[in-house]
Structure formats: structure tokens, C-alpha cells
Point group: C4
Chain length 261, copies 4
Amino acid sequence: MITMKETTIITLEKPKLRNPICIVGLPGIGNIGRIAMGYAVQQLKAKKFAELYSPYFFPFVMIHEDKIHTLRNEFYYYKDKKRDYIFVIGDCQSYDPKGHHEVAGSILEFLKSFGCKEVITIGGFGTGKVTEKPQVYGAATDQSIIDDFKKSGVKFDVTGKITTIVGASGLIVGLSNAYGMKGICLLGETSGYPIITDPTAAEAVLTVLQKTLNMKLDLKKLDEKVKAMHEFIKKLDSIQQQATEQISGGGKKKDDLKYIG
Amino acid sequence: MITMKETTIITLEKPKLRNPICIVGLPGIGNIGRIAMGYAVQQLKAKKFAELYSPYFFPFVMIHEDKIHTLRNEFYYYKDKKRDYIFVIGDCQSYDPKGHHEVAGSILEFLKSFGCKEVITIGGFGTGKVTEKPQVYGAATDQSIIDDFKKSGVKFDVTGKITTIVGASGLIVGLSNAYGMKGICLLGETSGYPIITDPTAAEAVLTVLQKTLNMKLDLKKLDEKVKAMHEFIKKLDSIQQQATEQISGGGKKKDDLKYIG
Amino acid sequence: MITMKETTIITLEKPKLRNPICIVGLPGIGNIGRIAMGYAVQQLKAKKFAELYSPYFFPFVMIHEDKIHTLRNEFYYYKDKKRDYIFVIGDCQSYDPKGHHEVAGSILEFLKSFGCKEVITIGGFGTGKVTEKPQVYGAATDQSIIDDFKKSGVKFDVTGKITTIVGASGLIVGLSNAYGMKGICLLGETSGYPIITDPTAAEAVLTVLQKTLNMKLDLKKLDEKVKAMHEFIKKLDSIQQQATEQISGGGKKKDDLKYIG
Amino acid sequence: MITMKETTIITLEKPKLRNPICIVGLPGIGNIGRIAMGYAVQQLKAKKFAELYSPYFFPFVMIHEDKIHTLRNEFYYYKDKKRDYIFVIGDCQSYDPKGHHEVAGSILEFLKSFGCKEVITIGGFGTGKVTEKPQVYGAATDQSIIDDFKKSGVKFDVTGKITTIVGASGLIVGLSNAYGMKGICLLGETSGYPIITDPTAAEAVLTVLQKTLNMKLDLKKLDEKVKAMHEFIKKLDSIQQQATEQISGGGKKKDDLKYIG
């Protein structure tokens, strides 16, 4: 039974998955993870099998194309020849520090119940300048997973460049060992300007995933698909930015959000 | 047993309800939902059968007409010829994002236990200008419910106008599918000036409900009743506004609220 | 087992109490409740039988007379001829809205387990001016309890004067009906200047309690005892005021509190 | 099973411990506890047997020496001739008042399950000036423990100097009685300038522990080891300071933390 007293995952289907590896693409700088995995889900026709709701998501629903859209994260699976995939995508991360932990823990617990042993999260690394050939940086829990991704060109010498990974993407990897998993966070280099969706960095990350995992992804249609996703993401980002400011700024501009209740 | 560690509903009576439809009228812009359903409860002599208390409501009691009044939401039922109704009205919404989710989830869980399959929430859409003939806008989860209300003149082409519905009214509808229900939010067009109660918009929404659901409501006494409710609502709104500012503004004006402990 | 994940009451003794009535004196404006009931506990040699700890109390311990003092509320009982008393006194109220509800609910649940049917809370009503003969105001849940206290001179026509009672004292009374109890809040008239302990108002409230309940209290030593309590209360108040500002003001003056960890 | 919905301790090993005494060295002013016990753990080759994770820690992971480091507290044991030791060290304290209580309670509950009856926490007392021969101050729950430490030169006449001990170190001692333990907090005198690690004060505290408990600690390498720990601690402190400001300051400088998600 769903309860909104804590983060809850609703299971729509219980697929049997062979040695599944999970890739998480949640919103963040440049929306790299979200558009990369959003594209993978579409291209591979992955099937949704669960939804995550959290009381630590923003307390509103969105109206998009005249329909009500409730903020959530979603789980998809894709059965490949040798092993299966779980993709996690979503509209939002938590607005709250405790919420980040609760969402990360809930995702890991759920993945564990499907026998998942490896989790990859995708984020962005904001450099403040625009790059044509973005690098992909990595930070991981185990040497074996580092070795696998190094071969595909991921840079792991990040000390001095990257000091923290904030939010669920960092915590999912950081806590993966405690759930008996290995984890890696792949960070696409991006300008980091607010509310910019960076398909070039997303492509760089997807290329790394293709190489390392032998995923069959046709990246030609990425630009086109990103454009289609763009309007929704832009709207959502802009609202969440407003909401974040209001939650922290103390409701002074409450009318800006057009409170409807 | 009531506990104030989480949102709790106290059941006063367990009525058997036939295919109940729920209409929720909580405070919000123009207090449209609250006065519309407050009026419906009075006119139909609906019977209170449950009360909801939440630790995420404001931490004070009100004194009204020399009596202590504890902030709560209330559930009423009304037995009609073909089907029964549940009305939810209340003094307040949560002051806190997590609270909005918890209250919405608690209401949905409770409604489900009575076999409720449809939920309507009523809110306001603040336009910034005064209108004589306010429009009623809608946003819903399912096409079938949209079709029903379109016939009664509700406008569903809201994209560009309305982007979010904040608070319990939005979340109740947004999460209704996860509880096996259909949901719709009806938004009465209103100026949206702070602490103004808008009976004209409430009448517009009630007219829509009458038409669509064949409710037997005499709207003639609405103005009169709204005036009677007005003093209490105005006082409550003014206190809650102060309290919201203090919670977010950091207690700087703590003495304004006349802290009594 | 005590846990600091939620408000917890540790029972030191389980007395059998005959038809107990509870009087709550927690900190607040003028510290009226705290000194009134602190005095009653001393004078009647009431016996401590439980302690309440809450994660929603301030996150520090005090050092007083070279010893560590942990913030808590305390339960005392006193066996009188006809019926027994439970007194609740404490160092603090919650710093947080949810905490106020949790503490109020925990106290009520605990009282119920001892068969308590009536609860009285004591607070202050800050008028902004000094009075020699302070009035005692009341707000209650039931007419019968109002009638009892009216005879002792308590004024119940408070509309226009008092609009809210903030914190545990208000909520304990406001929620008492939901726990099968009747409740009344007695408010001593006081100037309400910050961090002033008002023994005159405390005496006025104690006189009302004596008259209504036939309590055998010798009020002659009140002044003397209040002076003895004063140093500790003043220190605690001053620290809590600082802490409240820091929690709400965002740690800007963090070093003021001399963070020691 | 670890869950990130509340503070959780993962047990790696269940050692049988003889009459264990626990010493807690968490971050705080001058990082005295953290470096003192970090040094003791290294020198005595104490063995890690449990890890504590909390949703009330900061919501990010750190990258240190190209590896992901998740914020946590750690439990070590050391078997000595007469009795055994439990050392608690950690990267951080909670960012949140409720979290401080939850972490303190979780540590005490866990210690109790190993038959621990005494707990010592180490903190700093910031005086605002640099001292060559720092004093060690103490505050305790029981006279017997005070007597033991007085003999080693700890000063217990702190009234007027120290009024509060903020955070887990204070609460662990303050709540120890409720878990059937005795507790003492040792506070090394230190300048208290932000983000300064004070090995001289740490040495003063370790000397007291050596004398009182007959611990076999060689303090000669302290300086050297503190230098080795220093880079990590400095980085962590600087990030947490930034994070604290952002959580309280409302995300205005959100890009400073280089949000990566």
C-alpha cells in the first residue's frame, strides 16, 4: 500500500531479471542523466515496472498538455542478450537533505530485491565554460568497476576538480556497498549554467556506457529526442527553481508560485 | 488511537456508503473550496463521521467565541438517491511540504477504505483581476472524468495559464490513480488577492457540480451563509498568514503572535 | 526502551492513581506555568514518576552548578484525600511545530494510561503592560469545566483579547477531547516582556487552582522559592532564546552559542 | 537491513567485549575529539566493527584521493588486559537538531547492547585565545566518574565558563543515564577559531585518558599523524561549512557547492 508518510515504491510488475545492472538518470546539472537515460528508455523500449513517490518531493502537481502530472521517479527494465538492465529516471530530486537519503536508500533497497549488484548514476560536472568535446569523469566504490570504465576513456583523477557529489546520484553510489553492490558515478563535463540541458555531455556519457556495457544504442536521434523532451524539462526546472527559492526564502514571494489549493 | 507523531484520522462513525464520490474543499486562494463545500455540508445536512489531525498543521489552537478550536480537516457523508457523497472540509492545509504529502495520502487511504473511486478537489486560480462571471478550469487524471465535466462548461485547455497546483488539493488528485481512483481538480477563476473570500467563484464551482453530478443544492442562500462563515475564516487566515511568516521568517516577530505557553 | 527517534516517556514508577487530574506547567510567557507548578511540586512533595525526552527539544545539554542537565519534561504525582494529581513541569517546549504536536500527543497518551479525564494547562497572556492584580483568563473544551472555574473568578470572555494559544499548552487542551478528556487552559495576565518570570501572575493562577480544586497550597513561600528557581530559569531562557535565533536565523552567529562537540 | 529513513548502524562483526568503556571523538571545535580518537584507533590498531549512517548527515558524498567517501560514524573495539574499549569516530555530526538526538540515541542504544556502562565524549571549549598549556574541563552525570577524572587534573568547576554542550557529544553524555550508563564529557581548551585542528588540546585530553584509564598510548607520533589526517579534515570541514551556510542561507549560493546530480 502506498503511503505518503515516507518514500514509497509502487511495483506495477515483478519481472525476473538476470544479473541486472542499474543505470540512474535523475535531474541535475545540465540534466545529463535525465536526458541520457530518458533517451535510452525510449530507444530500447524499456518497460516501466515501478514508480517512486516521496513526501520529500515538491508539494505540487504539474499541469502539462492539459493533464495532471505527479512528480515521481520511475523504474524501467530492458532484457538484453547476456544480462538485463534497470533504468531509473525521474522528474525531480528531493528538495530536502533527509529526502535525498531516503530516496537513495529506497532505490537501493528496491534494486537489491531484484538481485542487482551494480549501479551506475549519471550526473554532470559544471566547469563554468562551454566545451565541444566534453570529458566524462568517474568516481566509484570499487577498483574493479574503475578498471572497466577506464578502458572506455573515463577519467578517474578528479581530486582537486570534484570534491562532492550532491544528492541522490552521489548517495546511491556512496551507499551501494552497504547494500552489497558496487557503484560508479559518471559525470559529464558541462558548462553548468542554470537550466541548460546539455545533449552533448549526455552523448559523451552514453558513448561510454555503450563501449563499456555493449549496449545497443543508436545515438543518431539523440538531438531530435532531446528537443522533444526539452519543453517539459524546461518548465519543470523553472518551477522547481522557483519552489526551492520559496521554501528557503520563506514564502515571501508566495504569490509568484500562484498558490492554488 | 490518535497519535500526534503522524497525520491521524479519528473515525467517529463507520457509515456504509454506496459508490461514494468525494469532494474536497480545503482552504486556498479565495477560499473557494472551503466555502463551497462548507455550504454544501450545511445545506445537505451532511453528517460528520471523521476528523483528521496532523503534526504538520500549525502548532496552536484558536479561540473563537470563547471556545478552544483545534485545527483539523473533517469528513462528512451525505446519502443521496443513487450514490453517496463524502465531503472533506477543513480549517487549514499543512504549513510544510512533507505535511502536504502526508495529509493528501492519509485522505486518499481513508477514502479508499470506503470504496471511493472518484475524488474531486476544489481550488482557485488567481488571475490578478476581478471577474464578474468567473470561469471554472479543470485538470484531471483520466479522460472519462474530463468528458463528464466538459459537458458542464469546465475548461480543460489550461496549458500556459496554469502550470502547478500546490498543496493537498493538487496532490490528492495527482496521487489518486495510485490509490485506484480517478481525480479531478476544479479551479474557480478568482482575483487571488490575499485573504479574500470569493463567493462568486464558489458559486460557479457549485453550479458545475450540480450540473455534472445532479446534486440538489439550493444556491440562493450562499451569499448569506458565506457572510456567516466569513468572520471565522478571516481570523483564521490572518493568523495562519502571520504564523507562516514567522515559521519562515525565523521568529523575529515572535511576540506578534502573542506566544502563550 | 528509550529511543531518540521520537518523543519518548521513560516511566520510573507506575503509581495507581484515583481519578487523577493533571496540571501542566511548561515554560512560556512569564514562565507562569513553570513556576506555579514547580512550586506546587516542591510544596506538596510530589513524587517524580516519569520523564519525557524529545528529539524536537534543543540539541544541547546545559551545565548548571557544574553538572550536566538534559532538557526534559517531568511527571510528578501527589495523592490527595479525594483524588490524585499529576503535575507536568519542564525545562522547555519544542523548538519546532511538529515537535509541539508530538509532545502534546505523547503527554495526553501517557495521561490516558493512568485514567486521567481532566487536564489543566497553565500559560500566560501578555498584555504589554504591568498589572498589580493580574486577571486569570480561561479557554476550555467543555461547558462543565468552564462552570467550575468561573466560580473561582476566571474570565472566559476572551474573544478579541486572545486569538491563539501557541505550543504544547494550547495543543494539550485542544486535543484532550480526542483522548477522552476535558481540558482547560488557564492564562495569567502578565506584561509579556521577554525573559521575565512573573510570580504575581503565578500566584493568581495558583489561587484559582486552590479555590476550584481545594488544593492545600501554602502560597506564602512562593516569592522565596521563585527567587531560588530564578537563576536556573533565566540561564535556560537566555540560552534557548539564542538557540531559537540561530536555528531560524541560519547559524550566522553560530560561534555565539560556543559550539562544542 | 540498512534503511536511510532513520539513523542506522550496520554491524560488521559482533565482538564479545568485557566491561567495555566507550570513548567518542566526533568533529567539533578544534576537532579535538576526532583527532584524539583517530590517533588512538591508529596507534592501538583498534578494529572497526560497525558503521553508523544517518539521513540527517549532509546529503552528499565526498571525493577524496579519487575515491568516493560516504559520510559516516564508525565503531572500533580494542581488547585491553583488564577491560575492552569501544571508540567512536566520524566524519561529521548531524546538520539538524532532530538528527543530533537521533544519532546520540542510536549510539547509546548500540553501546548498551554490548554491555557498555560508561561513555566518555571528547569536545573542545573555545576560549577565543591561544593557550600553550590547554586545560581539560569536564562535565559529568555522576559523582563517581567526576572523582576518577579529578585525580588526573580535569577541572569540573565550569559554571560561568561553559553553559551548554551542543550536539551529539553533549547529548550522548546527557542521555547516558537513561540507558543505564554513566557519562562524562571532556573538553579541551582551544582557541575555537573556525576550521583549526588543535593537536595540543587533543594531546591534553589523551594525557588525561591515559592517566585515568591506564591506556597504553604513545603520544610521540601525534603531531605527525595529525598532519597526515589534516588535509582530509580540512577539506571536509570546509565543505560542511559551505553546506551548513547553504542549508540555512537558503540555497542562494547553490552553485558554489557545484551541485552535481
